[in-house]
Amino acid sequence: MVTSLLEQDIAKLIVQTLKLKVDPATIQSEAALFGDGLGLDSIDALELSLAISQTYGYQLKSSDPEIKAIFSSLRALAKAIEKNRTK
């Protein structure tokens, strides 16, 4: 699958925010971000969601019924951001 521009930007945001030592281009769109995939944990998820809120004006909420799905991969995250972004 081709990585969209937004996905590339978010991959960069993830690497920058969490100071990961990986090349953003190597983050697969469909691969898991948390747990087994990139090995991120829920504190990383919080840090990332604060960065998403600042960059895209979209605040992720625990009450969102889709929240688990949104955090499941770069692609899912990008879709949610595209739909809800205010900047």
Binding site: G35, S42, L46, S62, K68
Partner: protein
């Protein structure tokens, strides 16, 4: 080693825990407490792992081997707090004499309006933290719990007090810390345990009671991200119906520098381990980490 506790199943079957909860509520605390004696003997004889862990801990603190009497007293202290959890969950604080020290420190931190992370431990009872909410009815208190590793306790909380069960934040999901942040943003309090390393959790080695032990760094990393004050919590059981609660300001804001994050984390955790050690020495019988806590204890 530190992950050892996850291999221990919750001791006591579903039926026996439910039965104790029933006895506790129907026949009252004196009857339930009398039953703790045979139960403690049974578990002490039955669980070599718990017994060895208590022995090791007490030897570190006292510098001499523990007697059977010491072991029994230690296990009985633990069992008492488990029993009292039933009453705390039912909101029966009236049965207890709970002295709270340092409430002013918590108030001071909460007045800043950024919520507060309360860092607790398996030294004494954490459930008594809700007693703090009692005198401060407006405070929202949520507790981060690894329910997957304690399904019996989860069932018990659900049964005894569904409203309290709702305030438990289950660890393990990517969204877990969103719940935490939202509670803090509302000016609430989130309780986290600082002494047990969970599966896949990041940890650092600290010096603790003369040995090296792993401590989880999650609470410090969280405090760094949310920029919230952190207060230490110790709920010590003092025999009979007495509990002593200590709240201590720990940090205004945990800052971790980018360049030396690992070193900073270790320093913060060591500061915590030092405080835990000091309070441990004041109430050694309240130590309830019954597994190989030290890395070098093999």
């Amino acid at each position: 080693m530190s992950l050892d506790w996850q291999q221990h199943q919750e001791r006591g079957s579903h039926t026996s825990i439910r039965m104790m909860a029933w006895v506790a509520q129907s026949l009252g605390r004196p009857v339930a407490r009398a039953l703790l004696y045979p139960i403690c003997v049974y578990f002490l004889l039955g669980s070599g792992a718990a017994r060895r862990a208590i022995e090791q801990f007490r030897e570190r603190v006292f510098g001499r081997p523990a007697s059977w009497c010491d072991l029994f007293h230690h296990y009985h202290t633990f069992a008492s707090t488990i029993l009292d959890r039933v009453y705390f969950l039912r909101g029966r604080y009236d049965l207890f004499e709970i002295q709270v020290h340092g409430l002013d420190e918590l108030d001071r931190e909460l007045a800043k309006g950024r919520g507060c992370v309360i860092l607790g431990s398996h030294l004494g009872s954490f459930e008594v933290v809700r007693a703090v909410g009692l005198s401060h009815r407006h405070i929202e208190i949520r507790i981060l719990m690894d329910e997957q590793n304690a399904p019996l306790i989860r069932g018990l909380i659900q049964e005894l007090n569904p409203a309290v069960a709702e305030t438990v934040i289950q660890v393990g999901g990517a969204e877990t810390m969103l719940h935490v942040k939202e509670c803090l943003d509302r000016g609430g309090v989130v309780g986290i345990m600082g002494d047990r390393v969970m599966q896949d959790e990041q940890s650092v080695v600290c010096t603790f009671l003369g040995g090296e032990a792993r401590f989880p760094t999650g609470a410090m990393r969280l405090a760094h991200v949310v920029r919230t004050p952190m207060v230490l919590f110790f709920g010590l059981y003092r025999g009979g119906n007495r509990y002593e609660v200590y709240l201590e300001s720990f940090s205004e804001e945990v800052q971790l520098s980018h360049e030396q994050r690992a070193t900073d984390l270790k320093q913060w955790m060591q500061r915590y381990a030092d405080r835990l050690e000091a309070v441990c020495r004041r109430a050694p019988d309240n130590w309830f980490n019954f597994y190989e806590f030290w890395d070098d204890s093999h």
